[in-house]
């Protein structure tokens, strides 16, 4: 790919002597966002996703995206091993990829992955030479030596167990300044918190860390940030009650009930995913993310412009700056992809014209890289069939009013 466009993904390894790292890297990426796992959690069906990704999926459909098992909102657990693996891998990645690319160009000798013996030697070399890898190892070791030895219980992150996290004094700490206060007060306080104390970032005082500390006997007075937000049964909540709830949470409370619901769900997901983070974000950052959501999918999204937004809410997210930094990148990428595809089309079409007898050859044409294909989730055959719902109802399934189509 264009080296000026940096969107690292598993295909970076293809066409290098280390192409076998493509599937490895794929397995460290979330199937929903395609990025490296961010705060990975494991579902009750043992699939791993970013905390925020799976929470959004579950609030949408309630099913695991990988296997469609339902009924698991409350059973997500942190996946520490995957998180450490991702950290270690992403630390080592630039150096290793650089080496692999040099080798692909012939600058450095790096054998094709043919000889096992040779590979082992490389592995050893890297271990002893690589500062980066050592740094990671040291860090993860020190984390394991932290107050708590493995007890195998409280990695658990269960929304349903929020009550367990409430300390004996019934107060919670602001994650920014550490001041203790009533749970209900935290959200409002965070809004105004100057964050001067900016504490404990190095100690990773996320909700989970705290829950771990609480394992150690005699440590019960440790501060705890606010707990997870429970799901609400929107159908039984009156609009006014829901609006007040949003206000109490410190998030925008304008719009009709449906928008309030959507916003609450997104906030709950942002919030709860943040609770899974080793380095939780500030309330301010979370609000900024909510604002991005508001602009792209919420009340400020183009389709929903009927909701009149208070203009004060507009300034936080700099849409122009965001698109400016991304536009060029993706235009370049799109242009490149289109050019490549056009070439492919041109080279394929002539062969196709010898149809029909020669057609089978053409269909199998093109760069076939299935062996190295990094991400190709099998489609469950059960879902390949036509929609049963459509039976005998073709008229009602008429074309969506899309002029371009």
């Amino acid at each position: 790919m264009d080296p000026s466009f940096d969107l690292p993904d598993s295909t970076d390894w293809l066409n290098t002597p280390l192409s076998l790292l493509a599937p490895l890297e794929s397995s460290l990426r979330c199937q929903v966002c395609k990025d490296f796992f961010n705060n990975p959690v494991i579902t009750s069906c043992s699939h791993t996703f970013c905390s925020l990704c799976i929470r959004r999926c579950l609030s949408k459909e309630g099913k695991c995206p990988a296997c469609r098992t339902s009924d698991q909102e409350l059973k997500l657990r942190r996946n520490w091993a995957v998180q450490e693996f991702v950290e270690a891998f992403t630390n080592a990645r630039p150096g290793v990829l650089d080496l692999a690319k040099k080798a692909a160009r012939g600058d450095v000798g790096l054998e094709q992955p043919a000889s096992k013996k040779r590979k082992v030697e490389h592995g050893e070399d890297r271990e002893s030479d690589s500062v980066g890898a050592d740094g990671v190892r040291t860090r993860s070791r020190s984390r394991r030596l932290d107050p708590q030895p493995e007890t195998g219980i409280v990695e658990a992150v269960e929304d349903s167990q929020d009550e367990d996290f409430i300390p004996e004094d019934g107060l919670v700490a602001c994650p920014i300044c550490n001041k203790r206060m009533k749970n209900e007060a935290v959200f409002r306080h965070l809004d105004a918190c100057t964050g001067s104390a900016s504490p404990n970032k190095s100690r990773n005082l996320g909700p989970l860390q705290v829950s771990q500390t609480s394992r150690s006997p005699g440590n019960n007075t440790t501060e705890k940030p606010p707990g997870r937000l429970p799901t609400l049964n929107y159908s039984i909540l009156k609009e006014g009650v829901l609006r007040r709830k949003l206000r109490d949470l410190g998030i925008p409370d304008w719009g009709a009930k449906q928008l309030l619901q959507k916003r609450h769900t997104e906030w709950m997901n942002l919030w709860n995913a943040n609770c899974d983070s080793k380095t939780p974000k500030s309330m301010k950052d979370l609000l900024r993310e909510l604002d991005i959501w508001e602009r792209t999918q919420g009340g400020h999204a183009a389709a929903a412009s009927a909701f009149a937004p208070p203009s004060v809410m507009r300034k936080e997210f700099d849409k122009e700056a965001w698109s400016a930094t991304h536009d060029d990148d993706f235009k370049r990428l799109i242009a490149k992809a289109r050019k490549k595809s056009e070439e492919q089309v041109r080279t394929t079409i002539p062969k196709m014209e010898e149809l029909p007898s020669e057609s089978s050859k053409a269909a199998a044409d093109g760069p076939v890289t299935n062996g190295d294909k990094p991400e190709s989730p099998r489609l469950p055959s059960a879902f390949l069939g036509p929609a049963e719902v459509a039976s005998n109802s073709a008229p009602s399934l008429g074309p969506s009013p899309n002029p371009e189509m």
Binding site: V32, P65, R68, S341, P356, A387
Partner: protein, 159 residues
Amino acid sequence: MASPQTTQRLLRELKEYAASPNDALLHLGPVTDNDLLDWEAVLKGVKDSPYEGGLWALRIRIPETYPLTPPSIRFTTRICHPNIHFETGEICLTLLTSEHWSPVYTLSTTLTAVQQLLTDPRPDSPLNLDVANLLRNGDVAGWESLVRYFTMEERWNMN
């Protein structure tokens, strides 16, 4: 404007397709450089099927909430298939419904599923009654020759 997570995800799909294309497709990508939510694809017919040698253009509208919600895909080249509307190009495929869609599907894998639908017609949930009736009445030869005719007649070409 697409959300950052949707944009990221689509850019990754684009890059992945460029690096590792799909045999079922001749082309997949955004229609213009300016709108990442509007894609097009050219699908190839399956070998050893009446659709062999065919090429069909498809238009893909991607919702702001992608991949949490499915893309909407339709044929813009006419195709003769019981589960595809001959005029509108609408496709009757369960995984394209919000109920059965999963965010782990990509545009590329979804189009593979569309290609598989070609060789696995379900005349019981038809969008093209005439074609479905041929199959329902067991006239496979008639169906195949009709398919072959339209596959060549309507075949997409670059201009």
